[in-house]
């Protein structure tokens, strides 16, 4: 497994501790402490995953997240001290794939990083259809009438999970497990935010979704193809 992790955190003690833990788990961490230098460090290190603290000197974590997301679909995991809805949602909307609330246990962190990296394993060639979308699973591409739609890996995974079983209604908990790789129930806001982000990219009218349909009181399902 590839394991280059860029840690963007201004707290040197925490960064060092993260380094110890990550190295212990076989990852290759690199560090940057300043939000302004984060993007340069990202380009230089070409990490497989970014651990991003939300509160940073210089550019704050949200801004950094947006900049990285603008040029790469690399998994981003936010480190946040605030579990308030607004903070989490803002972080997720800026492009983060997952978040982890401080204080966390090393095992929890490692599990989440692994979950985010696991999807890089090569999938079997597979062609899926959902609505008027054509999904090439192996080629990581989604096309509508030949037009390619750019999705982050996580959004892609979410769409594939729904498209593979169009007859099934997925609860948020099931999606958390299948897409994010959580064994036990975590925060379902993750799912809500990512479904909204996905819709804004793949739906013709995000207000009236046809690809990812909400089943009230239960969860989501793929729209009819």
């Amino acid at each position: 497994m590839k394991g280059r992790v860029l840690v963007v955190d201004d707290d040197t003690a925490l960064a060092e501790m993260l380094g110890i833990v990550l190295r212990g788990e076989g990852f290759e961490p690199s560090f940057v402490a300043d939000g302004d230098k984060a993007l340069a460090a990202f380009r230089e290190a070409k990490p497989d995953l970014v651990l991003l603290d939300l509160m940073l000197p210089g550019r704050d974590g949200i801004e950094v997240c947006r900049l990285i997301r603008a040029e790469s679909g690399v998994p981003i995991v936010m480190l946040t001290a605030k579990s308030d809805t607004v903070d989490v949602v803002v972080g997720l909307e800026s492009g983060a794939d997952d978040y982890i609330v401080k204080p966390f246990k090393p095992k929890e962190l490692v599990a989440r990083i692994r979950a985010r990296l696991r999807r890089s394993e090569e999938p079997a060639p597979e062609q899926l259809a959902i609505g008027d979308l054509v999904i090439d699973v192996a080629g990581h591409s989604v096309k509508r009438e030949g037009q390619s739609i750019a999705l982050t890996p996580l959004e892609f995974d979410l769409l594939v999970a729904l498209a593979r079983k169009p007859w099934q209604v997925f609860t948020r908990e099931v999606l958390l497990e299948q897409v994010w790789g959580y064994r036990h129930a975590a925060d379902t806001r993750l799912v809500n935010v990512h479904v909204q982000r996905l819709r804004s990219k793949v739906e013709k009218d995000p207000e009236r979704p046809e690809i990812v349909v909400t089943v009230r009181g239960v969860g989501y399902k793929a729209g009819p193809s």
Partner: protein
Amino acid sequence: MSSGSAAPKPGEPGVRAGRTADRDRRASRLGRLLRRGRLLQDGAAGSPVLRLVVRWLRRPVLPAVRLWRRNIQLRVVTTTLLMSLGVVLLLGFVVIGQVRNGLLDAKEKAAQSQAAGGFTVAKEKADAPVEPGGQEGGAGDGKSSRNSVNWRSDLVVQLASGGQSAFNVVALSADANGAGSSSRFPRASGGVDHIASVPADLRSDVAKGTGTFQTYTLIEYTDGREPESGLVIGKRLTDVDGNSYELYYLFPLTQEEQSLNLVKGTLATAGLFVVVLLGAIAWLVVRQVVTPVRMAAGIAERLSTGRLQERMKVTGEDDIARLGEAFNKMAQNLQLKIQQLEELSRMQRRFVSDVSHELRTPLTTVRMAADVIHEARVDFDPVTARSAELLGDQLDRFESLLSDLLEISRFDAGAAALEAEPIDLRVVVRRVIGGAEPLAERKGTRIRVMGDEQPVVAEADARRVERVLRNLVVNAVEHGEGRDVVVRMAVAGGAVAVAVRDYGVGLKPGEATRVFNRFWRADPARARTTGGTGLGLSIAVEDARLHGGWLQAWGEPGGGSQFRLTLPRTADEPLRGSPIPLEPEDSRRGRERSAFDSKESAHRLASVPSQSPTASPLPVPPRAPVPPPAGVVDPTALPGNGARVVPRAAGEPVERDSDPSASPSSSSASRTTSSSASASASAAQAPQREDTTRGR
């Protein structure tokens, strides 16, 4: 007590009741009566037909009444109108009375002198020697009488000629209708109806006395003129023949009446003007005062809705202006204070948020370091290894304490937001029980679920509800002393409820409210296995409140406890009741009740709504007989939140070995009202079953 000896015979409830229990019971009965009285006042009872009629009668009047009560201007103007009307009427009557008296007095005097003159003339004429014209021929009876006939007619004509329209003269004889001579026929001048015009009372007075008599009468005419009121003055006289006759002067009061009417009309017009003008003046004056008051009221209302920059317009230096100034000053201070508080609250929230971040970052480092050390503890010597363990455990506790504190501060700051969507509580309960299973296994507790046959759906925040239920279930397992924990769900009306029942140490009287206090612990000396933060139930209550729901506790010492979460099925819908009674049927009191009226329970069973969960066999905690109750918590209390569930004062706890019959008697007293608690209606079925199982 459940051994059966406690159950009293139906005929003699509470005869053997102990003294203490008796007093308690009386007190509680009084309380219940009071409560029932309040219920009556609230309009729950009373004759519905009567109330309907009253309401029907009141409906058309209601707008007017409301206007009357709300409009001070209307009130003042109406009062002024009524009072000035009264004053004007009084004044008018007095003035008119005086004018009339004055007029009549003058008329009377004039009439009296006129009449006196007339009477003198008549007397003189009667006494005078016979006129030459009247003496022709010999004096015979017939002639003389004819003579006297003429004489009287002449007299009347002569007297009446003195005042043409001022008065009329009537001459009557006492025996006018008797057989008689024409001289006795009544005579009247000016077409006066002599019979109708001269009142009989006056005639009898005149006939009896010798003086002059007078009275007021209605003068009627034979020639068709309108009758008019007048003054009659009469006197008995003798004519030329020595026969007595009555002479009356009739003075019409037409003139005086006209004058009086003129005065009356003038007064009425003036009075009307005065009343109307006073009303208008009152209206204007009141408006001067009321307008600023209304303005102040309107602005106060706007202030209270949050528009703090609203101010009154102040003109002049009068009292109203002072009111305005004071009002504005108050508003300004209020605005300042509110801004300060808002600023403070913002700072507080910011501070909490910052503290959280500042605290959490080093805590994360410590946590990770501790975990790394913990992982490597096998290589340490025993002391260091144990230290590493303690470090890890206490860090867990520190973390949960910190997050609970932050959660509470979020509630306090009003920053907690509800993310409600329809969820099936069965799923949540299943997840919670799954999470509590390891702890339950350690404790040897079985967690049982009831009422999960049909969906229990409500609009709720799954994360919060799960947190509440996890707290309740973990608490129940922790305090359940290894006995079963029953999680019950029910839907009814607009509410869903989940009740978590345990059969552990229970709650002492008064603790049912205190459990929700922050950092409250049942027994400070009690060893805690899972090391809760002491904030769990406080957060749970806040979570319930955020949903518009209730979290309430019931418990009896040694009899376990029940925590009930009630949520409205749709958010924003107010709760009116809970589908599950707060006091479980298998409470001590419930069992006694069912033992007391086990005969009734059979037919009650049929009327109980389909609360099928209660029909499944209840768990039988393996233990010795339960002590008699000490505190009896009122199940009918259904307040808005758990903090208001106040157990009824039950006096000093009854000792375990006290007279067991005391408790059934107190429960029989409570039965008088228990039927009003709709929830406890279903209490009859299960306890009976349990009594049979426990009686062994």
